[in-house]
Amino acid sequence: MSTQTKTMLLNMGPHHPATHGVLRLELELDGETIRRAHPHVGYLHRGFEKMAEHKTAQQIIPLTDRLDYAAASVNNLGLCLTVEKLLGLEVPKRAQYIRVIMAELSRIMGHQLWLGTHALDIGAMTPIFYAFADRELAMEITEEASGYRLTPSFLRVGGVAKDITPEFVRKVREYVKKMPKAIDGYHQLLSQNAIWMKRTKGIGVIDADTALNYGMTGPSLRGSGVPYDVRKAAPYSCYNDFDFQVPVGQDGDSYDRYLVRMEEFTQSVRIIEQAIENMPSGPIMADNPWSTNPDLDSVRHNVDDLIRRFKISSQGFALPSGETYYAVEGAKGELGFYLVGNGETHPYRLKIRSPCYYLVSALPYLIEGHMIADVITLIGSIDIVLGEVDR
């Protein structure tokens, strides 16, 4: 009798709950060990880059909300900064501080969503309840500022949509006070948990050079020990005013990536605390007659400002000829926008450099040689959002 070994092909997704959206993975299995893996993306491709070529700069902001919908404000920030760079706009300091608060809140919200679902995928059910309950606090602050919870579109080219209220300040102060205890709670649930360590330590090890070579950025790269953070490397929007650290890991495994994100909670709360306590006064919108809206008060009393607001809202403003790339530190990594203007109101070309896209491309390397159950760990540990992968 002869035995024949044959590998088996398994399709995972696109509707598997652990794939965090619509990711399809083809796995070649030898028993339960994975020989090869191949991700298929594009199930959520909405053609944002093509749509952006037919919209004005302000109209693209809501599209960016839908990239990484778990952390929307930081995407708005990336687009606004790119357009402002092309226009040469100087944003007032108060607006920049409000933007930083919104961006860091969205980063915390994104990480809380990651923590809850990552732990749930691995089998720990408790963290998701705590993470989502605390995420609600950040959602309420976002709602207080913008009126929306998940997709705020709060930032505008040149500033922010409206000034913050005393209620907002009160809520943020309360949040900053509550969060350190909540973060300690997450640590108590998982960081020293024997099952958690067994499931994440030594899983998906990637060294620093390979991670860079695959284009990994953000917490997933810092887990491998590369201290690359756009907020430190090329500070934007007053980030050099704040005192914060960039946590890095050593081993480059899932556990280190977990620890890096856990430490980012603390650092983000620190940034929010500094921003709300040192909030400068002044305008919240740059004053440029060609590209920024005048404030509502002068619109009501001055017909020129009324016309200006109407023209900028309806026709948009011309983007000068030129090309620029601008990157911000998104919740998942380096989120960049390559913007080409040609003197018209619509961008000639807008390319979104999505961090998750390159994180997914590294998945085959990470998965190879592991078990099926570890695939779930790995998808969670690089923290992907398919809205950003597919755009």
Binding site: K6, T7, M8, L9, N11, E26, E28, R36, H38, H40, V41, G42, H45, G47, E49, K50, M51, E53, H54, K85, L86, D209, T210, L212, N213, Y214, G215, T217, V226, Y228, A233, A234, G322, E323, T324, Y325, A327, E334, G336, Y338, V340, Y348, R349, K351, R353, Y357, Y358, V360, S361, A362, Y365, D390, R391
Partner: protein, 185 residues
């Protein structure tokens, strides 16, 4: 490292590779006119050179400048983590020419170039897996070209979802999906 130092290091080693430079908005853009193996060795030099060390290829993209010639501008966004310096490289190519793939130098070029091929229709030579990535395999046209209409080439009602083939990345005979018996039969 600032823009001028980076530019001096590049032009010193490869004086013939840089055809134009620009420093708009504080960023260093260089345009190259080398092709084929020279292009690959130039790219490898940018990554491996001890002073430059552009170890991260952030993104590969392209701009369609139709009706200008050459039609496309392939753009490589390189970043040096050690020097905290970003270099944007432009490679102008015509519609009917191909570009050598740099996926052997940076793994991230694998998916970056696939996306450019899918959305812009620029073919990369010696790429390990040159297939569409964001659209499906039987999709016709390249959406980000300027001659592709915003609403697509056909109406959604005319689209036949039932015959859409789901393709596998592993196409050899031993890798066929296993048959799962239908529980209802």
């Amino acid at each position: 490292m600032d823009n001028n130092q980076a530019l001096a290091a590049i032009t010193q080693a490869y004086p013939q590779a840089v055809s134009a430079t620009e420093q708009s908005y504080g960023q260093l853009h260089i345009t190259t006119n080398v092709h084929g193996d020279d292009f690959l060795s130039f790219m490898r030099f940018l990554r491996d050179d001890a002073t430059l060390s552009y170890t991260l290829l952030s993104d590969v993209t392209a701009v369609d400048w139709t009706p200008n010639t050459p039609r496309f501008d392939v753009i490589y966004i390189l970043y040096s983590v050690r020097n905290e310096h970003r270099l944007i490289m432009h490679l102008p190519i015509s519609e009917d020419s191909t570009v050598p793939s740099v996926s052997g130098i940076w793994h991230s070029a694998n998916w970056g170039e696939r996306e450019v091929y899918d959305l812009m229709g620029i073919y990369f030579d010696n790429h390990p897996d040159m297939r569409r990535i964001l659209t499906w395999d039987s999709f016709e046209g390249h959406p980000l070209r300027k001659d592709f209409p915003l609403h697509g080439n056909y109406d959604v009602d005319d689209f036949d979802f039932l015959t859409l083939e789901v393709n596998s990345a592993f196409s050899s005979e031993s890798d066929q999906p296993c048959q799962i018996p239908n529980a209802l039969e």
